[in-house]
Each structure stands twice: as C-alpha cells, then as structure tokens.
C-alpha cells in the first residue's frame, strides 16, 4: 500500500510538468446580479480570444495552452467578488485576470487580491473615474474609458440636441455616483441645468417615490445612470406609467436589448451612449462573434481586447508571470508597430516572437492612456422601433 501511494504520488509529480506550463486566465464577471444579461457574451468574447491563440499554436513555446477559468463577481457584492477572485488566484493559480466588470467589485478585487498577490487585471467595463487615480502597482488596466470621459460625451450630446434642463437619477454605487458627478459637472459647464440628482437603490419592487421626486423637479429628459436589469428599468417604467417623462438618456449601464423589450414602444426616441467605435476592428469582431454563436453585445469588444492584451503582453514579455507581463501591456496596445485587428492574434503572436513591435487595435480601437485606460470612443445610441440602434460615433 505504501509503495502504491508513493508511486501515485511520484507519478503525479512526474506527470505534472509534462502537461507543460498551462497558462490560466481568470475571467471574473457578474454572471449573476444586475448586468447578468450582458456578461455571458462578454465571457464568450474573452474565451474566443483565448481559443484563437490556442489554435494558432504560436503562443510561447508552441505547445503552451491557455485556459479560461470563470468566476462570478456578482457585480455588486464586494465580499463575494473578493472571495471569488481569491479562489482564482490561490486555488486555480491564474496568471492574470480578465475583469472585473462593475467598478465597485473591481476596486475591491484590485485592492484585496490583485495587489497583494501581484496579479495583473484588465477590466473591460469598470468605468468609474476613481479607478484612474487608485494606486495599483502598475497591475490594473482597462479597455473601457473612464466615466469622466463619458460625462463629457453625454453633456455634449444633450446640449447639441437642445436639451437644456435634465433630471438625473443614478444607482447608489461607485459607478452611478462617479458617472452622475461627471455628467453634472460637464453639463453645467456647458450651460445645462440638472434640476435634481437623486440616487436610487437597486432591487426594489417599487420606485414610485423616486419617480415622483424626479417628476416634480422636471426637465426635458431624464438621465438614468443605472443598470438595465435593475433599478434603471424600474425607474423608467414608473416614469412612463405616471406620465412624468417621455424621453430618457441611457448611459452605458442601461444599453442592452432586454430594456426596450421590457419597456415596449414607449422607449422609442430615447438616446444613449456606450463605449464603441466604427473602426474596422468592430466590424471584424461582430462577424467573428456571429460565426462563433454569440452577439457582439455591450462590452464584449472590450472583453475580447482585455483577454487578447494579456496574452500578447505575455508573448512580448516571454513570460506568463504577471510581474513580467505588466510592463508590456502598454507596449503591445499602443503605436508604434504593425496594427493587429480581431482574428489576427496569430499574426500578432508570430510578430512578437520575431521581436517585432505591434500596435494592438482590436475590436474597440484600444489606445491606452494615463495609467493604462482606454482613451475612449463612444457610440451614440438611439432606441428606434424597439431596437438599440447606432446613431453615430464620437
């Protein structure tokens, strides 16, 4: 028996290295919670990038395979997200993390798990301005722009459409507060007037009191900086029922097909904004996504890019360790170098192997500025005929 156990023990240790250095990427999104309708496509986008690199056979030594490990950030529960990330790092031993999705949990994971373990995080959708200035030991990047930028875009869109008075409500968390502050600051400096800026809690059945306070303040449009599967939907439904507002502005957390479907034709004519670009990368990604059986929904481009950036940085650093790859993320993301679009990760890998420079453009026209966040181009949204349509880019 003893010999048997020892032989098993030894064989495990003998076999282990021959499996090669399998690289693991944590993919931590809120598969449950207020943006659960978006996250499946986001995760599939990240996994698409991973399988593309695996198929290319050009990553590191050639037979190193990458594996995506999913974990649930819940989007709102910092404790649950921290525990999930802790599990990824200590038990799954991931090399780097794609995620998290919402700003609050991203901050929590960065401070509690990523920094103490020295793991690189690239978030596709955490947009809170606070993350720009948070100390991160160079471990945190995001392929989504900060909401400070979105605030500017929202204010410009409203002023250009002649909407000078607006009521605003935001979900009571880091994302909502950050975005609301930024919209208010920019809008007022451009001559607009925010009649009321009130927070709302997610997960309530009834938003009657919130809606009536917003209605009393009045305005040409209601800005709803919330989540589409949560309070945001409730506020819009309540405002329409009471006849308080007819037009809504929907920032990035509110864009998704489930909203017009739930509200119905009354939402037509509402406008919104979401990170996005008309670069050739976006179109290529959309067709890639379609052929792989999912939709290029909100933040899925950014998710693809986040995973791609990590793997390209590993190749460029010739190491799969976070402490090495963190210094290469900016290099592969920005000029100079050959432009790499979605579906061309294999080309990027071989160029890097030859020691050449690349400029990863990706699906969302990645251009990292400052401490490693996307410069940010936005898609203008118009809800038309019960569908989310694109009205332009800026």
């Amino acid at each position: 028996m003893k010999k048997f156990l020892i032989s098993i023990f030894l064989s495990i240790f003998m076999i282990y290295p021959s499996f090669g250095e399998n690289v693991k990427l944590g993919i931590i999104f809120g598969y449950t919670g207020p943006i659960e309708s978006l996250t499946p496509d986001m995760a599939k986008a990240s996994e698409l990038a991973i399988s593309e690199v695996n198929k290319s056979g050009k990553f590191m030594s050639g037979n190193t395979k990458i594996e995506g490990v999913r974990a649930d950030s819940t989007c709102v529960d910092a404790a649950a997200a921290t525990a999930a990330a802790e599990r990824l790092v200590t038990s799954d031993k991931v090399n780097a993390i794609v995620g998290a999705d919402c700003s609050g949990v991203t901050t929590a994971i960065l401070q509690n798990v990523a920094m103490s373990n020295g793991v690189v995080m690239i978030s596709p959708s955490a947009t809170s301005p606070a993350l720009s200035t948070l100390p991160d030991n160079g471990l945190f990047f995001r392929t989504a722009p900060s909401d400070a930028r979105q605030g500017e875009i929202v204010a410009k869109m409203l002023i250009e459409k002649g909407l000078k008075k607006a009521a605003m409500t935001y979900t009571n968390n880091d994302y909502g507060k950050g975005l609301a502050d930024s919209i208010k600051k920019n809008y007022q400096s451009m001559g607009g007037k925010i009649t009321i800026s009130a927070s709302h809690e997610d997960g309530k059945a009834d938003y009657g009191a919130e809606v009536s306070a917003l209605a009393q303040a009045g305005g040409d449009i209601l800005i709803v900086a919330g989540y589409l599967d949560q309070g945001g939907k409730g506020i819009i439904q309540g405002a329409l029922d009471a006849g308080a507002f007819e037009k809504f502005f929907l920032p990035d957390g509110m864009i998704g097909d489930s909203l017009p479907k739930a509200i119905g034709p009354d939402l037509n004519g509402s406008i919104g904004s979401i990170p996005g670009t008309d670069s050739p990368g976006a179109k290529k990604f959309a067709s890639l996504a379609k052929s792989n059986g999912f939709k290029a929904g909100p933040f899925s481009q950014e998710s693809y890019d986040a995973a791609a950036l990590i793997m390209l940085a590993m190749q460029s650093a010739k190491s799969t360790k976070s402490k090495d790859l963190k210094n290469h993320v900016m290099d592969v993301a920005n000029a100079p170098g050959e432009k790499i679009y979605p579906g061309e990760l294999s080309k990027g890998m071989s160029l890097l192997k030859q020691g050449k420079k690349i400029d990863y453009v990706g699906a969302s026209a990645v251009e990292l500025i400052g401490g490693g966040e996307s410069a940010g181009s936005f898609r203008e949204i118009l809800i038309k005929g019960g569908k989310v349509t694109t009205a332009g880019y800026r």
Partner: protein, 336 residues
C-alpha cells in the same frame, strides 16, 4: 386652471399610489394582527406567506396562459386567485402543523413562537427561490391602464396628467371586498364570535365549549387568504421579486403597531397612515406650490422634507413616535 393642475398633481403622485400601497399594507397588517390576537405571537413569516401566495398565482397564471384562458381586460393572475388562495392556505396549515402547533401545545412563550416564525420566514424564502428563482417578474398581462396620463391631459386640457393603473383600481376594489368580508365574518357569524371570545379570554372560552383546534384552523384560513391576495396584488402593482417581500415585513408591522396591535380596524388605518406618510414626506412640493403661489415667492429648492433614500426610515420614525406618545396605537390595542 392652476388650482385643478395642483389637484391633479397631488392625485396622480400621492393620492392614487398612496391608496393602492395602503391597501396592500392594510391587507398584510390585518393578517399579522389576526395571528397576534388569536395565536398570540408576531408572525414575521407573513411577508413570505404573501410571497408564496404571489408565486403560486404566477405559476397558475403561466398554466392558464398556456391553456389560452384569459378574460380581457382583467389580468390573468386575478382569475387564478381563488385556486392560489386554497394552495396558500394549505401551505399555512402545513407550516402550522409542523412548526407552530408543537410550541402552542407546550404553551410556549410568545417570544419563542416569534423566533420560530423567523425560522419559517427563512425557510419559506429559500423554498420560494428554489421553486421560481430570484428573478424579477412582470406579471401584468391585461390592459395596463384605466386612464392614461396623456389621455387625461387632452380630455381636460391640463398641464398635469392623471394615470390610473388597472392594478391600482383592482387593488382597491379587491381590498374593499375582502376587508368587508373579514369584518362581517368576525362580527356577525358564530364562528367569528367564538374566535373573538378565544382571543379575549382563552381559558374562559375553552370552558364555554369553544373548540380551540377549529379556531386555529379558521385563523390560518383567513390569514392565508389575506396573505395570498395581498402578495399577489403587490406583485401585480409593482413587480414580483422574492427578495422584496422580505423588506415588506417592516412597514407591515409598523402599520399593525401604529394602528393598535390586535385591533383589525387599527391595522387597516395603520396601513394607510404608513403608506401616505412614506409618500407625503418624501414628495417634492415645488411644482405643486408653483401652481398655487406667484413665481417670485417660489423657493429655489425642491421643497422636499426628506430625500427618497429615507423612505423606509419614515415608517420607523412614525413607529417610534407612536410608541413614545401612544404605545397602544391609534386604536387602543394591546401592548407588546
């Protein structure tokens, strides 16, 4: 004209929502009060009984929809109410048999029963989420509005609109019917009188030959019915989500205590007091005043007493004030 605008504004944002929310609270508080007077404990599981009733209604509604049974413009969920009431009552009786009856037979203190009810609350909440899932569900499938804000504006040529939802009017009508029935039952029938006797003086009533098992059975039947209807109406008017019923327990208890614990009329009055004060205190009055006083007297602020974030705190505030000033509640009830 300005006067009518102001009246419409108040009706649309305070009166109608307050009335329907008040009805839902009143039905809940009535159930809590009945349990308290007859079985002598605070039933914290009442919110979950409401949620259970609403869940059964939704499941039956889906079944009816799949059969294609509906009576336009009434929402399907109202049609299935009688069946779901029966199922909810059976659930309440099962819970009573397996949880509460043991402690009742041992003459346990009411505080022990209260703790048991908290256990039942968590169990039911888990069971409900296991069966129907934690998602938000919109269950209104009939005509949504009796009167739309836009139509009203055109009809009377006013600035302000008045919207009356189908669910709101149904809530008010059904509550009226149900409450009348419960009061008739308690005051006019022999069984009702025996129930009141039992709650008044247990030992004396037992001596005069009242069957305690029957009284307990009747109480659970009425409570189950009230819980099922209140839960379904709340879900229909707002939207159904298992977690929200957990938060509903607090205003329901506040209503029961404010009205006077153990007094059925008090429970109903308490429900409306809580509902209206939540809305009145968090309402912004600037536009309302704008119609009544000249513009240059109008203040810059929104004229809001408390921000809507503090909505839940309002019911607690009233509860504390009532307990300090008049511990027996508005209608003289029992002391807790």
């Amino acid at each position: 004209m300005d006067f009518w605008n102001a009246i419409t504004l108040i009706t649309n944002y305070i009166l109608i929502p307050g009335l329907s929310y008040g009805c839902q609270l009143a039905l809940g508080a009535l159930g809590v009060t009945l349990i308290y007077t007859v079985l002598r404990f605070s039933n914290f599981a009442h919110g979950e009984f409401m949620s259970f009733g609403a869940m059964v209604s939704i499941l039956l509604m889906w079944y009816f929809q799949s059969l294609g049974i509906s009576v336009y413009p009434i929402p399907t969920i109202i049609i299935v109410l009688p069946i779901s009431i029966i199922i909810t009552i059976s659930f309440c009786l099962l819970i009573d048999k397996f949880c509460f009856s043991f402690y009742r037979k041992n003459n346990s203190q009411s505080v022990i029963l209260l703790i048991v009810s908290i256990g039942v609350m968590f169990f039911s909440n888990g069971l409900i989420r296991l069966i129907i899932g934690p998602d938000d569900r919109n269950i209104n499938d009939g005509e949504r509005f009796l009167l739309k804000a836009k139509t009203f504006k055109k009809m009377f040529e006013l600035n302000e609109g008045l919207a009356i939802k189908m669910s709101q009017s149904l809530t008010i009508i059904i509550t009226l019917i149900l409450v009348t029935f419960v009061f008739w039952f308690l005051n006019k029938t022999k069984t009702g009188k025996s129930m009141r006797a039992y709650s008044d003086n247990k030992d004396l009533s037992l001596l005069s030959g009242i069957n305690p098992e029957k009284v307990v059975l009747i109480v659970w039947i009425i409570t189950g019915m009230l819980a099922c209807v209140a839960g379904t109406l709340y879900g229909l008017d707002k939207s159904y989500k298992p977690f929200t019923y957990l938060n509903l327990v607090l205003p329901i208890f506040a209503s029961a205590i404010v009205g006077g614990v153990g007094n059925p009329i008090g429970a109903i009055i308490g429900g409306f007091v809580i509902a209206f004060s939540e809305i009145i205190i968090t309402f912004a009055y600037r536009r309302f005043l704008g119609y009544l006083i000249p513009e240059n007297f109008l203040p810059e602020t929104l004229m809001q007493v408390l921000s809507t974030d503090y909505k839940i705190a309002v019911s607690f505030l009233i509860l504390v004030i009532v307990l300090i000033i008049k511990p027996t509640g508005i209608y003289k009830g029992k002391l807790i």
